[in-house]
Symmetry: D3
Subunit: 230 residues, 6 copies
C-alpha cells in the first residue's frame, strides 16, 4: 500500500526528516512518500498558520492520485475535516493518532507542544475528539517548531523539566510530544523518565496502514460528503 | 463606528441581501459595509467549502483597513479563530451570535440548517462554544443555500413542518435559522409558531456593535496572538 | 429604547454608581434607569443573599411598566430564570454577558470575584451556561463587595497579584471582573496586564440593547412560560 | 431524631398528605413534622413559583429550632443551596434524593414530572448534580400538581402511557415520579410496569435520617458559609 | 432488616474492624454481618486486585441467602455492576455512597485515597457516577491500605498535610476518606480541619438501610438483568 | 511479531472463527494465535458475564509467555484495565478499537450490539473513552451472541432494518457492529447501506500491530502499575 504524508508547512528539510522517520514505521509492502506545499507558512504555529495552508494541502492531495491513505504530519491535524471530504481513503492526523495511542497505554497523559499560541487549537481538538478526561494537560515548552530542528541542550533541558513536573505534580502516566519536530526525542525521553513518551509520526503512519488493511473508507454521507465542486 | 460584514462565499447577490438586512440592525452612528471574496465557493456547505475560502477572507480583511469590528456572515463561523489572530478588533460569527442570543431567550433551542453535510460542523461549533445543553438539536432542512434565495412555497413548507415537529416532539422553546439565506424568514416564522425564531445577521451585527461600544479588544496573548508573518 | 437596570442589593450608592457606568454604554436613543429593592441584603454574597432578594426584584420589575429590557447588575445573575418568566422582554444578567463577551475575545479566561462563598454559585452558572471549557478558573480575591467601593491600594494590589498569577500559571488570556463593584477597574487593569479585562455592566447593558434592537422576545413556551398567578 | 419536612407551597392538604407518606419512612426513634409557608404559590410549577417561596421557607426554618435535618419536599429542590447556608444540619431535596436512589437501582432512568414549564428546572438540577448520563429523559405528563391530588383515571392513564413509551423507545430501566403529589403511585406503577418506580418523599426522608445517623454536618466553609446577616 | 457487608479483600482483621464500625450505623432493628473471600488479594489496590476478587465476592453473596441489602466495603466499589445483576436487593458501594453524601454537604470535595495506582479507578467511577463537577480532586496519600491499620503518626501527619493543602490551594469544602481502612479517622480530622470529613462505611451502611426502608429493588430490565446462567 | 487474541468466552468454535478472521488482518511477519478460557460463560452478555471471566483471562495470559500484544476479542473490552496491569505489552479491546476507527471515518456513528443487557456496559465504555459526542447511539438488535453464529435471514433482516432506521432518523454516518460474532457481516452491510460498517476484530488486530510497530509499552506508573502480588 502507499501512504502519502503531507507536511502542512513549507520547510522541505522538515518534510525530509518526517519522511525518514515515517519509513521506520512502514509494514512490509508499504511505500511512503512525503510532500509539502511550496507556498505558505514555514511552520504551523496556531490558528492562522493552520488556516492559510489548508487550500494548498488540498491542491497537493488532488494532484497526488496514487495513495491509499493520507497522514497529516502536523500535531494540530491541520485541515483534517476538509481533507476527509475530498477522498474516501482514510485520512489521519498525527495529533489524533498520538492522543489515541497514549490513551491505550496509560490512564492519564499530557501533551507538550511548542508555543502557547498552539495550545488552544490542540486543546480544542482533544475536547472535540473526546479525550479530555484522559489528557490532563496541554502545555507549551516555549520552543518554536524550527528551533526543535537544532535541538540544543537548553531546549532539551526545558522539555525534561516540563516532563518531570508533569509526573510529579499531576500524576501524569504518559507523555505525548506535540510537534512533528520532536520525533527523534521520544525513545530517549521515555527511557529517562521511565514512562511512555509518544510522538505522532509513528502513531499516524501505523494507524493509517491499519485502516487501509481493514479496507476502511471515509463515509461519504453527511459531514464528509464529497464537495459539490472541487 | 464601522462594521465590516464578510460573506465567505462568492455570491455577490447574497452579499447585497445580507448587507441590506444588516443595515436594519445598525445603531445610530454605525456604518456597515459588506464584502465577499472574488474566487471561491458560491456557497459554504460543509467543511471543504469552509476551509478553502478562509485565506481569501483573510486577504480581504487585510485589505480593508478601516473597520471597528468584523462579522462573518456564514452560520458555520467560517475561519473565526484564524481571523481573530490578524486583528485586535472584535470578530463575531453569526452562528455563535445566534446561538448565544437564543440561549438568553429560552431554556432549549434547535438549529435548522440547510444540508446534512453542514450539520457536523455546526454541532462541533456548538459543542466547542459549550452550548450543547441548551441547543438540543441541529437539523438539516434539505434545502441548499442558494435555493433559499428563491424561497418557493415547497421549501418554506418543509421548514414549517420541521419547526412544528421540533416543538411537538422535543419541547423546543426557540428556533435558530442556521443559514444567512434565511434572514427574511425569522419574523414570519416566529409569529406563525409563537416562539422566538432567531436569524444570525441581526445577532452578529448587534453583538459586534456592542463589543465595539465597550471598547473590547481581542486578546493578543495565547491562541489569538498575532501571527509571526502575515 | 429604555433599559431597566436592577441592582439586587439595597445599597443605593452602589445603584447610582452602576447607573453612572451603565449610561456610558448607551447607544444613541437609549434611556437607562436603575433601581434597587428597599429591603434585603446590602450586598449579594453567596446563595443566601441571592435567594432572599429575588421576590423583591420581581416586585420591583412588576411595578416598573415602561422598559424594553432588564439588566440584572449582580455577577451571580440573581433570579435570572424567575425574572424571565414574568416578562417577554429580554432579561440579561451581567455575569452571563461578561462571560459570553470574554469567550469572544480569548481562548481562555478567568473570573475574579469577591469572597469564596460567591465562587460556587458563579461556577455553577458558568457550568450551566456551558462555558466551562473556556472559563478555566473562578477565584475569590477575598475582598468583600462593599470594600470594593473604597478601593484602597491594598485591595487593588491583591487583584493585581491574582491576575498576574492567573496569566503566569494558567495561561489565562483574558480576565472577567466578577462583581459590579469592580466596574471602574477594567480599563486600568487591561492596560497594566496587556490582556482584555472585562467588567459586566458594559457587557450586560450593550447585550440588552442588542437584543431589543433585533426585536428579541423571551419564549413563553416551556421554562419561561408566564406564571399562572403573579 | 427529628426531621422537618418543608412543603414549599401553601396547600396545607398537600403538606398533610406528604407528612402521612413521610412517616411511613421513619426509622424507629425518628419524629417527623411537616410545615408549609402561609403565603406564596399553591403549587410550585417552574422557576417563578420556586423563586418567590424561598424567603418564606427560610423564615419558616429559622422559626423551627428543633430539628436534626430538613427535607424540601418539592421535586425541584426549591431553594436548596440557600437553605444549606442557614444551618449546619443536613438539608435534602426530594428531587436529588430520588435521582440518586434511581441511579443505584438501574443503568438508566427517566423522570416524569407535571407540566412542561417544570422540565428545564429539573433538567438543570440533574445536569448540576451530574446525573445526566444516567437520567436519559425528563418528560412532562401534562397534569398539573393539584390535579394529581384527585388522580382521575384519565390522568393515571396518561402516566401509564408515558412510562410504556419510555421503556419501549428509550430502554429506560427505572422511573422517577417527579412530583411530591405522585407519592402514592410508585408501588402500583412499579408492579404494573415491572421496573423500579421511585417517588421522592421516601428517598428524601430516608436519606436525611441516614445523614443524621452518621453525624453529617453541612460545610460552613465556602458556598454554604453562614450568611453575614440573617 | 439484615445488611450484608462484603469486604472484597481477604484480610479478616480488616473485615472485623469494618463490621465493628458498620454496627455503629445500624438503625434499630437492623442486623449487620460482614464477610470476606478466603482466597484473593489481601488488599484491593488498583484495577488488578479489584478484578480478580469479583468472582469470589459473587460466590460469597450467592451462598449468603438471608440479606436485605449488600454493601461493598471497598472504596473502588469493587464489582458493583456485576453484583447488581445477581440480586434484586439493593447493592451499594461505599465509594459511591461517600461521594454522594459529600455532594450534599458541600459545593466541592476531594477524595484522599491510598496509592497512586488506586486513583484512576476512583476517578473513573466518579466520572461515571457523574460527580466530576463537585469532586475536584482525587489524591493519593502514598500510604498502603494495610499500613492504615497501624496508623502511625507519620502516616497521620501526611494525611493532615494533604487536607491542609486541599483546603488552601483548591478551596475544597469537604473531604472524603477514600479507603475503608480510614474509617476511624473521620471525626478527628473533621474537628481538626473544621470542614466535613466523610468516610464510606457509615455512608454505605445507612444508604443501604434507607433503600431497604423504601422497598427499593434493583431493576431486572436492561443492564442489571439476571444472568442467563449463574 | 506475535499477537495473542483472547476470546473471553468458552465457546471454542467462536474462538476459531475469530482467529480465522483475525489472520486476514495480519501484516507480513505477524503471527496470530487465539485462545479462550476453559471454564466460564459461553458468551459475554452484560456485566455479570464480563466480571466472572476476567480472572480466567488473566491466568490464560500469564501462561502464554510469548506475545507482543494482546487483543481482547469481546466488544465490551472485558477486563481491559486489569489486563493492562499484568504486562507492559500493548493490550487492545476490539470495542475501543472499533469505536476509535469509526470516529476517524465519519462525524457520527452508532453501535449495534446483541441484547439490551449489553448496552449499558458499552455505553459506559464509550463515555469513559470520551467518544460520546461522536457515537450517537448504542442499540440492541435483540439477537443473542450465539445466534449470530447461525445468521439466519430473520436475524440479518433485523440488523438491516436497524441500520436503515439509524441512517434515516439519526443521520448516522457509519455503523459499528458491536459483537465479535458479527465479523463476517461488515463488508456486506457496508455495500448495502453505502456507509462504512466496521467490525471490531480487524480494528483490534491492526491497532495492536501498530502499537507493537512503534514500540509502545503500557505505562507501569499509576493505574496500570504492576500488581504487588500476581
Amino acid at each position: 500500500m502507499k501512504i502519502l504524508v503531507v507536511n502542512p508547512n513549507t520547510t522541505s528539510k522538515m518534510t525530509e526528516k518526517i519522511l525518514e522517520s515515517a519509513r521506520k514505521f512502514a509494514f512490509p509492502g508499504t511505500t511512503i512518500s512525503a510532500s509539502n506545499p511550496i507556498v505558505g507558512p514555514e511552520s504551523i504555529q496556531g490558528y492562522y498558520d493552520a488556516a492559510v495552508c489548508v487550500p494548498q494541502i488540498i491542491e497537493l492531495i488532488k494532484q497526488e492520485k496514487d495513495f491509499d491513505a493520507v497522514v497529516i504530519s502536523c500535531f494540530d491535524d491541520t485541515g483534517l475535516d476538509a481533507i476527509r471530504c475530498i477522498t474516501d481513503k482514510p485520512v489521519i492526523g498525527i495529533g489524533e493518532a498520538a492522543a489515541i495511542y497514549a490513551g491505550r497505554l496509560a490512564c492519564s497523559f499530557a501533551i507538550i507542544t511548542t508555543l502557547s499560541r498552539s495550545v488552544p487549537g490542540i486543546e480544542s481538538n482533544i475536547y472535540k475528539y473526546g479525550l479530555g478526561s484522559i489528557c490532563k494537560k496541554v502545555v507549551a515548552s516555549g520552543i518554536p517548531v524550527l528551533e526543535l530542528e537544532k535541538m540544543d541542550p537548553v531546549a532539551l533541558d526545558r522539555i525534561n523539566v516540563t516532563i518531570h513536573q508533569l509526573i510529579r505534580n499531576f500524576d501524569i502516566e504518559a507523555i505525548v510530544l506535540g510537534c512533528a519536530g520532536m520525533v527523534d526525542l521520544a525513545n530517549k525521553l521515555s527511557r529517562e523518565h521511565n514512562i511512555p513518551v509518544i510522538e505522532g509520526i509513528g502513531c499516524g503512519i501505523t494507524l493509517a496502514q491499519s485502516m487501509v488493511k481493514i479496507g476502511a473508507k471515509t463515509s461519504k454521507s453527511g459531514g464528509y460528503a464529497q464537495p459539490f465542486k472541487f
